[in-house]
């Protein structure tokens, strides 16, 4: 095995915190190396150092045995590429332009022509087995396709080591499979891949080696083939964190009255005649492949969009948009936290109390009592924070998600529509969110979760509705739902 990227004895401190203590990591050519650890364990810091975005206090970076300086330029020149969680894509340009963003090919007279770019991009996309139209504008791509695009770009820039940061956070199973097959192709071409993920099943499936970080130190590494998921979890978190249904689901629920009812609801071509009831006192999970219409159903249920035909009854015949639904007590957590859920540069207080504004009672706003109320509700959800008046950008994904939940608890919402509530959230926060949702259901709230994560579904659901092509493909009892059966139903077999 040939070591492609080597980090030796890396140390890094930030004011007030030690981020990395004597961490070493070796990624081998033609192998996938999983970098594991909960949020705050130091993964991001480590990849920032590997890509030159951060200077370590001590340590060495070697690429192909040669020592490199810690600057973005030299890391890039040495062939280290990072695929960030935030896509680095020029949305208004074509796929071809994006593939060749770094270095457009020059043709005759040294001019860059659209045709030349498209032809070259097509060749490069084919090389990694990414089936994309070079002429399509980038904004028409799905998240998964954007990832393939970025991967193609990295490979074609003669990358030796590609670092992928949580690439599957917002992908669905079929897309993950597609991504994995491309990653394997990349790996087999002799590139070292460093793969960061919260999903241990993906790690078991894809990775060859692993390194586990905890609190800035390396606690374990080895071969994936020689380790079990359970062992990895205990390496990551020290003591046991439960993700089993028995520990989260306290037993059969007694469904109460209907909170939201969809009757033959349609929305364009995305949702076709869906009838569905969400009851109080139960956790209903709606799932399905990407594009199956579940995302639109979530928005219908929250009142954020109106059905093109059919009816959506939210709480006793109540109608009339997202605002009225909010006032009637329907809380909504959107799938894309950063784009649709949070005001990233505003304080935690403002984010936690955002829904209060829509409720409209006394018009006065008192900053002091606002901070107190926000602190209270954040404490109820055990949000880990140092100052409620700091921008929410600084919180971890799990804590940001809890703040959005807090927003709805604060205004007393008793119908919760949650679209991917644990996307990009670490495992301890996940299990806390699951417990919270079960608690709400037990207290008589209606909880509707839209999820594509099988383990999550099996863990929390009283009832599972599977969608396919805008219709309901079937329903499963939460107790008997297994990953296998849900998957079969999604595929329609």
């Amino acid at each position: 095995m040939r070591a492609t990227l080597e980090l030796r004895n890396v140390e890094k401190s930030f004011p007030g915190a030690r981020a990395l203590k004597d961490v070493s990591l070796t990624a081998f050519a033609g192998r996938v190396h999983a970098l594991l650890g909960e949020n705050g364990a130091g993964k991001s810091t480590l990849i920032k150092i590997a890509s030159g975005a951060l200077q370590p206090d001590a340590g060495q970076l070697l690429v192909d045995g040669r020592r490199q300086r810690f600057t973005p330029r030299s890391a890039k020149a040495a062939g280290v590429r990072v695929l960030h969680q935030e896509r680095q894509i020029a949305l208004t340009r074509s796929v071809a332009d994006n593939v060749l963003l770094d270095l457009p090919p020059r043709g005759r007279f040294g001019l860059v022509t659209g045709r030349g770019v498209a032809r070259e991009a097509g060749r490069r996309l084919a090389r990694v087995g990414a089936d994309l139209d070079p002429d399509a504008p980038a904004w028409t791509l799905s998240v998964a396709q954007m990832q393939l695009l970025e991967l193609a770009r990295a490979v074609c820039a003669d990358a030796k080591c590609i670092i992928m940061d949580e690439p599957t956070a917002t992908l669905h199973r079929a897309e993950i499979d597609q991504l994995f097959s491309v990653v394997r192709q990349v790996r087999d071409s002799g590139i070292a891949v460093i793969y960061i993920s919260h999903h241990l099943d993906e790690v078991m499936e894809l990775a060859d080696d692993y390194t586990v970080l905890r609190d800035g130190t390396k606690v374990h590494d080895g071969l994936v083939a020689e380790v079990t998921t359970g062992e990895l979890v205990s390496h990551m978190f020290g003591d046991e964190v439960s993700m089993r249904r028995a520990d989260i689901h306290e037993g059969a629920a007694t469904p109460g009255p209907v909170a939201i009812e969809l009757k033959d609801a349609c929305f364009g071509g995305a949702v076709r005649s869906v009838s569905l009831k969400a009851r109080r006192g139960e956790v209903l999970v709606v799932t399905g492949a990407v594009g199956c219409g579940s995302r639109e159903v979530a928005r219908l249920m929250a009142g954020a969009i109106q059905p093109t035909s059919g009816t959506v009854r939210i709480l006793d015949g109540h109608r009339g948009g997202r605002r009225a639904a909010t006032r009637a007590g329907v809380g909504f957590l959107p799938a894309d936290r950063k784009r649709e859920g949070l005001m990233l540069d505003r304080s935690i207080v403002e984010n936690a109390l955002l829904a209060e504004n829509g409720m409209l009672r006394a018009p006065a706003f008192n900053p002091l009592s606002a901070a107190r109320r926000a602190t209270e509700v954040c404490r109820r959800l055990s949000v880990k924070l140092s100052d409620v008046r700091a921008p929410i950008r600084g919180l971890s994904g799990g804590n940001q998600q809890k703040v959005i939940l807090a927003r709805w608890l604060q205004v007393g919402s008793d119908v919760l529509v949650l679209d991917e509530p644990t996307a990009g959230v670490d495992i301890p926060s996940k299990s806390e969110i699951y417990r919270l949702l079960r608690e709400r259901a037990a207290a008589g709230d209606a909880v509707v979760v839209f999820s594509t994560e099988y383990q999550e579904i099996c863990c929390i659901a009283d009832r599972v509705v599977v969608m396919r092509d805008g219709r309901i493909a079937g329903e499963l009892d939460g107790e008997s739902a297994t990953e296998h059966r849900i998957f079969e139903m999604e595929l329609g077999s």
């Binding site: 006032r327 649709e340 403002e350 504004n357 409720m359 107190r372 140092s386 008046r389």
Partner: protein, 338 residues
């Protein structure tokens, strides 16, 4: 959630520390502005003692009042992530209209009312177009700027309409040593400040600018809020038109030329972001004062007129670099900690 309490909550009560992140952010913006104001005043008064005389201070405030009133309205727009470039021409048009009404011997109350209503109507138009057609306000109101300018010139036949009498209260009235235009400005600042920073409506404006989608999904009436801030801005532009007409003593079809950009410059100086979600009435007030002091001190330092624009531009670049730089560093710190 009591079974596995793995996380420690560190609540900080609201009263314990006065230097909150928000306060710090404001100070980072305000302090450089105060330094500029003090330095320039010191320089100007060392050359000419009359700079700090009551009369000059009074004149400075009156001269800044139109800009100040406009800045209050536009601050709401910038904080809400919107923009109205048509205010410059709207002031010109309002001024011409006011002069016509004065010539027609319409009572002053009605004149003010008409000017304000015309402004509000213009604001409502932009608000509706922006939110219903989802047109970017920049281009839309740029069009408005041109159209209003042309209407003003046409109505006034391209020459200022003199006001022999009428609107005297704007020239002569004063209270507590403050002249009427200054008082109107002050009133706008106080009402605007309370509205933006201490009401639900104000919070909605911030939410709109910080993340419109998140605000909508959280049940906030984003469309209504958007239209409301355009109307508010138009209303204040109408008021500013009356003030400038009374102060100058003529209905000038060129009264507001360039004002739209100066207003935005003042607000951005005061810490607002063109991307929305940031800014304050107090900051905008300081921004306007800085520009007022700069203009006046240049006169006192007998700097030729041709340098005015240069100094104005240089201060804008310097101040924005300082605040933007501070903002960038702060953000990077937060992100690194994450």
């Amino acid at each position: 959630m009591s079974a596995t309490q793995t996380q420690v909550v560190l609540p900080t009560t609201a009263r314990r520390k006065w230097l909150t992140p928000a306060v710090r952010e404001h100070l980072q913006v305000y302090l450089p502005l105060l330094v500029i104001v003090i330095a320039l005043s010191a320089l100007a008064s060392s050359r000419n003692g009359a700079f700090l005389s009551t009369m000059n201070l009074e004149r400075m405030l009156v001269a800044s009042s139109v800009l100040g009133i406009l800045a209050v309205g536009q601050t709401f727009l910038l904080v809400g992530g919107q923009l109205d470039l048509s205010v410059g021409s709207l002031v010109s048009l309002g001024s011409v209209l006011t002069a016509k009404l004065v010539a027609g011997e319409v009572p002053d109350v009605v004149i003010v009312l008409v000017a304000v209503l015309v402004g509000a109507a213009s604001g409502a138009l932009w608000g509706l177009l922006v939110s219903l057609l989802r047109v970017p306000p920049f281009i839309l109101t740029l069009g408005g700027l041109a159209v209003f300018a042309s209407i003003a010139l046409t109505v006034a036949k391209s020459t200022p309409i003199p006001l022999p009498t009428g609107l005297d209260w704007l020239q002569t009235g004063s209270f507590l040593g403050l002249r009427t235009p200054t008082l109107i400005w002050l009133l706008c600042v106080i009402v605007g400040g309370v509205l933006l920073h201490f009401t639900r409506f104000g919070r909605n404006v911030f939410a709109l600018g910080a993340n419109e989608e998140a605000a909508f999904l959280s049940g906030i009436a984003t469309t209504r809020t958007k239209i409301a801030i355009f109307v508010l801005n138009g209303t204040l532009a109408g008021l500013a038109a009356v003030v400038i007409t009374g102060r100058v003593g003529a209905g000038d079809p060129r009264a507001g030329i360039g004002l739209e950009l100066v207003v935005i410059a003042a607000i951005v100086l005061g810490g607002a972001s063109l991307a929305g979600g940031r800014g304050s009435i107090l900051g905008s007030l300081l921004g306007v004062l800085v520009l007022g002091v700069v203009t006046s001190s240049l006169t006192f330092l007998s700097v030729p007129d041709s340098y005015d624009q240069f100094v104005f531009g240089a201060i804008l670049i310097a101040a924005v670099s300082v605040t933007a730089g501070a903002d960038f560093r702060r953000r990077r710190k937060v992100q690194r900690r994450a």
